[in-house]
Symmetry: C2
Subunit: 129 residues, 2 copies
DNA sequence: GAAACTTACATGCACGCGCATTGGATGTCA
DNA sequence: TGACATCCAATGCGCGTGCATGTAAGTTTC
């Protein structure tokens, strides 16, 4: 019974790999095609919109980093992209001028809300009932 | 009950993301540090070694591609890397000169066998009992 | 059997990632 | 106060990936 467990971990890993790749590819493609958003970009918007409900969620970079599976540098550039697209604004923090606050712009909020159904649909296709 | 299902798919996806990232990062790091192998490289060796048991498994590129979550171009380059390291050899197929056969070299076989315990250990740490 | 199509693999290219480093701000200790 | 460690974010760099394309070899159609 213990020997069989070896096969199990491989199988579980293969299955995880399959689900991850299928889902992330489709998410990436759909979000890009329909909303001009990468998956990382979307995830940032998602967290920001959760942060402060509606009307401009804000969060520090460090907090975002902790909630995402993205390195500090990758996150920094993702935010740069979002900022360039006008979906997010950076603001220095008064209390700690090393830190940066992020704020969702109205346009960012709008884009996120538009993309959310696409996101859900894809997830439901892969995990749904 | 149906409304809750929406939360479920997100949760399932988050969980998949977490497991995938944690596991693949650790696999990548451990394989690289201990055996100078990337995860993609290892997966190719793994399939090849399964293909024909011991003594030089061989397979066509197309078959490999079908078994991996890797684009055709990425696979081609992965094999180039493996070939450069002497772990694999390319051979043109007599019957179809477009196709390439891949063969595990003794060195490749050895490297794979050495790396396998590392691979298993990591998987067991993440999926085990 | 020649032209049109398809298939297998390699390669140019752009992009996003992680690692390491940098630069500026903050905290600490003597 | 001055020296040093720590922290936050940005950036240089190299790498692996996917997409689009190129090239050569097989297949189909007439």
């Amino acid at each position: 019974m213990e020997a069989v467990a070896d096969d199990d971990v491989c199988t579980q890993w293969s299955e995880t790999l399959r689900v991850y790749h299928d889902t992330s590819c489709e998410l990436e493609n759909e979000l890009q095609a329909r909303h001009e958003l990468g998956l990382s970009e979307f995830e940032v918007l998602k967290i920001l919109s959760r942060r402060c409900g509606d009307g401009g969620g804000k969060a520090k970079m460090k907090d975002l980093e902790a909630e995402m599976y993205l390195s500090q540098s990758a996150l920094s550039r993702t935010v740069t992209r979002l900022e360039k697209d006008g979906l997010v604004t950076r603001a220095t923090c008064d209390f700690d001028r090393r830190a940066m606050f992020l704020m969702l712009t109205p346009s960012g909020c709008e884009r996120y809300e538009a993309a959310r159904p696409t996101y859900r649909t894809v997830l439901e296709r892969h995990f749904g009932r």
